[in-house]
Subunit: 331 residues, 2 copies
Amino acid sequence: MSDVTEILTDYSKDVKAVIEDYLSSIDPEDLQKSSVYLTEAGGKMLRPALTLLSSQAVGGNREDALKTAAAFEMIHTFSLIHDDIMDDDDMRRGKPSVHTVWGEPLAILAGDTLFSKAFGLVITSKEDNISADRVAESLAVVADACVKICEGQALDMGFEGNFDVQEEEYMEMIFKKTAALIAGACKAGAIVGGADSEVIDAMYEYGRLIGLAFQIQDDYLDVISDEKDLGKPVGSDIVEGKMTLMVVKALSEANEEDKEKLVKILSDPESPQEDVDIAIDLFNKYGSIEYAHDVALSNVNKAKEILNILPNSSSKDALALLADFVIERKS
Amino acid sequence: MSDVTEILTDYSKDVKAVIEDYLSSIDPEDLQKSSVYLTEAGGKMLRPALTLLSSQAVGGNREDALKTAAAFEMIHTFSLIHDDIMDDDDMRRGKPSVHTVWGEPLAILAGDTLFSKAFGLVITSKEDNISADRVAESLAVVADACVKICEGQALDMGFEGNFDVQEEEYMEMIFKKTAALIAGACKAGAIVGGADSEVIDAMYEYGRLIGLAFQIQDDYLDVISDEKDLGKPVGSDIVEGKMTLMVVKALSEANEEDKEKLVKILSDPESPQEDVDIAIDLFNKYGSIEYAHDVALSNVNKAKEILNILPNSSSKDALALLADFVIERKS
């Protein structure tokens, strides 16, 4: 794990510098500050690291992929800002969320600005020996991921209060909401690194698989962690009635009585801790926590197999480590 | 004027078809419907017409510029959806606004989706004999216009309650908020039409000038129209305390007593009609209505002069007609 932390820290410094520099010209000042705020607050910077490593793993130059990598972090940040408005979340990265500090109108604009700037940044990678064809190809990847993020968030909102969601629908939702951007980050890295189309597609699939595992692990941690590691109360997804693979699995396996009990708890936005514990007991009774972990693990293993298409290199090793990290992290 | 209506109607049919087709694949259904809603509601489609005419005027093919043209309309629509949320406007194009129908969270997403799709659409123009270099160049224009729209909206919000705004600051705000996208639509048309850089820059300048005139005319109509033509009460900008060139001019010319009177009316969100009439009288007293009209007219005349760089053609004539239309329209 410390290897992974080193990798992420190494890349995140460069990426942060590119983003902060590129956003510095925004005017007026409150729009500039609200746009750069979450980047200054930190974050794992997993997506840009994946772009940079994917590019290097196919023989590309680290410097040349930096702008495209930074753009993926900016798209991620844009989606966090807008999601926090939609979900009315007050906190993000240990700080008050953007709309909590600057109000909703400016937070909407800060997200829109990051979005616009991200596309602009990918285009400027033309200055870095990337051909116009490859720039257009990476832009298509970014645009496609952005559409999917919106669709995924809309699907997720549509799941609210719907307790008949099937596993396939759930997987489609998290693919769009979470995995598509991670997959896009890997694919765009391979594109700007100069890979052929077979490798480009393989890197998308690697990213899709670890992206799905990433989201399942997020939901899993909400149930199995302690509050100290998690930085928020255990089981808060249950209180919020959020759809997770564990909920989908438990509801599909439970008898009528248990199903009713679970739906009641998930429907109550004021569920006390004892109800949360009952829900977790039901997850355990139907093996859904273990099931979620197994699905995540299986995706990670498949993702690592895909990496065999790449020649051996330290970047390839780092991509395998990041795949493991996705389901080994504690927060 | 009927010529202009014919031109706009002719182009808008094609553009609408491209947009509706391109948005039809969005899933889930409520996101699809909310994204396409304002396009179905109609609108002048001035921006895509400018892209198509600019492309044709430099020797380009109408079909090849269609996707880029449609993208500019989608960016315009995205900004309307988010602006209506920020300004809490209930109506748009004679229908309830998107957030009024679907709620704020889905309206934010519908805007984001249109935004993402617009970039995707410009990229697909690669299929239409547009070189990757020119596609990347038009995308840079779109991204730049989007950043400016956000900056302009933030500047406009920052003007609220600030009665020391100078004419230069006001012009910078409307350039970013309104004129930059119109200028971008013209520039991108010239790019995909294959123009050289001198003509490309000239088309941006033409668009910038008519874009400024467009916004000034919008504000002017609010004061000089009758309610029937305008589709909303005359002087509603005054009630809302909106910054306009007339306000900026009147405040800079007025004596202390009149200035105080005007600030008081602009600061009162419940101003009765008699106060609105007093404000309009003050505009007249200091010649600010005529001044605004003169500035708009002068911009239009300069814009038409710029068109001399183009060879004679019916598209060039149409661009001159559209410049006049911007300040001759009644709504």
